[in-house]
Symmetry: C2
Subunit: 436 residues, 2 copies
């Protein structure tokens, strides 16, 4: 019986601020980073890899929190853990002293995501299946047992969750077969970072269309005239057959959001993303009512399932953008997917950052196979950077994620990457220090 | 011109879990702790003291976060900082890399509270006034300039905030004079921790009545029959002239809360506190509708002003229980007080823990003097423990906080306390280690 022998948590940071990759109206100079967890076992070749995503400073705080949160795993039997992923999740989250620091939000929740992502990765590797298939091979009851339904019973009962999974269980194989041909549809955000020049924007829009993308997203929210000019450039390149989405990254108050979105309505965006504070359920509902038919999207900073519950109850969003490294891994994500299905809101996960694309492809595929059963109005984010650091990077062809086949949650980074970008003593960061 | 020369952040922990002080249905064995910030200056005798409150493990994470958050203060001129407490708040919170870890919630927000609390303490000491008077001597415009109104304009405009302060400004002195006679009314939670025996509960209820308290709070939420028995004991001692409040510390789902509260209605509680997830605005609104005339109270885990805005907009609460170490200090608290006034909800701050009573007395006094102008339906929490560690502990007489007169935010701990309870190397913790 193999056991968990050690937990290593590594502060990995990439100097993305230098290229303005990832620049938006709120986050002008992020250094994309990961608090990267390795669960080591005494079984040769078996480890679990997971992470949460941050944008630089403070990544060390997440590392410390993840180290503490993972301590109870050391010495535990792998088989026990992977056979009851709901049980160990509840055990880790039951630490009331650590709970106080959230509860279920902020650094502690990011750390919980990192640790549980690594444990789900370990479970998938242990079973020899990619994560989406590990889930898709579980019975409805096993899936619901893994989900965190705490605080949700006024919106979704356990019975309802079971019933929706049971309805689709007999036909899961058909949808898997379909996706293996088509892939899962995605859109690109790589064209439209706020720090890019007009020329670069034009070029990247054309490249995106040429690569087969039917949905393209641009950052907005800094300056009103710039927004209008940039959207004009994008539409002049991609036309109106291709969908255009816009993302304000939380910079507006509610009345301001309504006014600024109205000024962009002529460009017919499919959705406005993060128009205001990610915590503001009622604010999003007000914006949504005011800007229809432009859809409202949010969720990458959605702190936990209770926030998403309210977004659904208040009819505040048209698109639900869960984040695989901010919610507490599959356990909490499952609950959001169940609620989204019940309330009829498509889940279009947030991705990009470090490795988020690698994770969310599994979520979207599982959602289609076992929960929603449809691709309608669904498109998952894709951003083309930092994939080269992953041992099994996601593959996008013709605007769609190719179904992953390797065991795990696609979360493993190369040793060479860790050696170079560990902060502050990796070879890259040490060399930068030397130059100063 | 004196400057900030250093920032020390100390991990202070008290072994409260041994006595079950502070035990409730969610938090069974907290070790009350503080991430304690000292802003040192080169002016003899001038320092600023502040903290956030946690319940043990993870306090070190808050310490690390506070150290990072406070770095930009080092080398800055004290006079510049204390003359523009809104400006420095906005500067510290504008770090977009650290913002990602919340935003404005969890560990990073607790750390921001600790640092800004210390800076407000420094400002009050620098002016030679207790914090409540520092505020009460500011003009309406100065107060509004210090407040964080971001994301609030759909509920409260800057103009509205100014107007409410201007209306009461001419009569501030009258209310100060009144409070100097009566003190600010408070209630006690010391009687009803969940880990206490029936006998101890009975004794403490009698002591509370004898001490002049007109409001007493009990913990509920563990076991239904225990709740009924304990409330019966309390009512048999205090009668129905004294107000009884109950606190479930977030252990129920929404439907469960409604059912469990109904079973306690015969004891006529004034309010039910934290009936469910602190994030659940719509859940609290549903509970409030169902359990009226029992009031609904929450806020000690209210993560930021955007949450409180929604609590008010959704008419979800009857009592607003802000926490002085969870919201980002005076800057954010001011905004909540303004909104509470506009929406007609009394603010009854959460206290207890480590030093929270010392802080909230200032808030309540300022609220009465300059914002709400009334004591109606207002009562501030008081818990009788750990005050002996503070250089200027709050004083409660006849169920009321005595107006503090010493300069500062009453946040300074004794050196002897720090030497004993610094974790893990203080003399107390070292001696406990030796025993193991």
């Amino acid at each position: 019986m193999s056991i968990i022998t050690a937990v290593d948590v590594i502060d990995v940071r990439f100097p993305t601020s230098q290229s303005m990759d990832g620049s938006d109206a709120m986050n002008k100079d992020g250094d994309y980073s990961a608090a990267y967890v390795i669960l080591r076992t005494d079984e040769p070749g078996l480890s679990g890899f997971g992470f949460t995503f941050t944008i630089g400073r403070g990544n060390d705080i997440c590392v410390l929190a993840a180290q503490q949160r993972a301590q109870p795993l050391i010495g535990r039997t792998v088989l026990d853990l992977v056979s009851d992923l709901g049980g160990i999740y509840r055990e880790l989250k039951s630490d009331s002293q650590l709970r106080w620091l959230g509860p279920e939000k902020g650094v502690e929740h990011l750390a919980m995501a990192a640790v549980m992502n690594a444990l789900w990765d370990l479970a998938a590797r242990h079973s020899g299946k990619p994560l989406w298939l590990l889930l898709a091979d579980m019975s409805p009851r096993q899936i619901v047992d893994a989900a965190d339904l705490t605080y949700l019973s006024d919106a979704l009962t356990r019975g309802e969750a079971l019933a929706m999974l049971e309805e689709l269980a007999p036909t899961r194989a058909e949808r898997i077969a379909k996706l293996e041909v088509t892939g899962y549809p995605c859109y690109t955000t790589s064209a439209g970072w706020l720090g890019y020049s007009d020329e670069k924007l034009r070029l990247l829009c054309q490249e995106a269309v040429d690569a087969g993308f039917t949905h393209i997203k641009l950052k907005v929210g800094a300056n009103k005239d710039d927004d209008i000019r940039r959207l004009g450039i994008a539409r002049s390149v991609i036309g109106y057959e291709t969908n255009l989405m816009i993302d304000a990254n939380q910079v507006w108050d509610v009345p301001e959001a309504i006014e600024r979105i109205a000024a962009l309505a002529e460009f017919k965006p499919l959705w406005i993303e993060e128009p205001t504070s990610p915590d503001d359920v009622l604010g999003h509902a007000a914006v949504r009512k005011a800007v229809a038919p432009i859809g409202v999207a949010t969720g990458e900073h959605g702190m936990n399932r209770v926030l998403f519950k309210q977004m659904f109850q208040a009819e505040a969003i048209d698109y639900c953008q869960v984040d695989a490294a901010r919610l507490a891994s599959i356990n909490e994500l499952l609950a959001v997917y169940f609620m989204a299905k019940k309330f009829g809101v498509p889940v279009c996960p947030h991705a990009g950052g470090v490795g988020l694309c690698e994770l969310v492809q599994h979520l979207s595929i599982f959602d289609y196979v076992a929960v929603s059963g449809t691709l309608e109005d669904r498109v998952t984010e894709y951003v083309d950077h930092l994939h080269e650091h992953f041992v099994e990077p996601c593959i996008v062809k013709n605007g769609a994620y190719v179904v992953p086949t390797q065991p795990g949650y696609s979360a493993e980074m190369y040793e060479t990457t860790l050696n170079a970008y560990a902060f502050p003593h990796g070879t890259y960061w040490a060399s930068v220090q030397d130059l100063r």
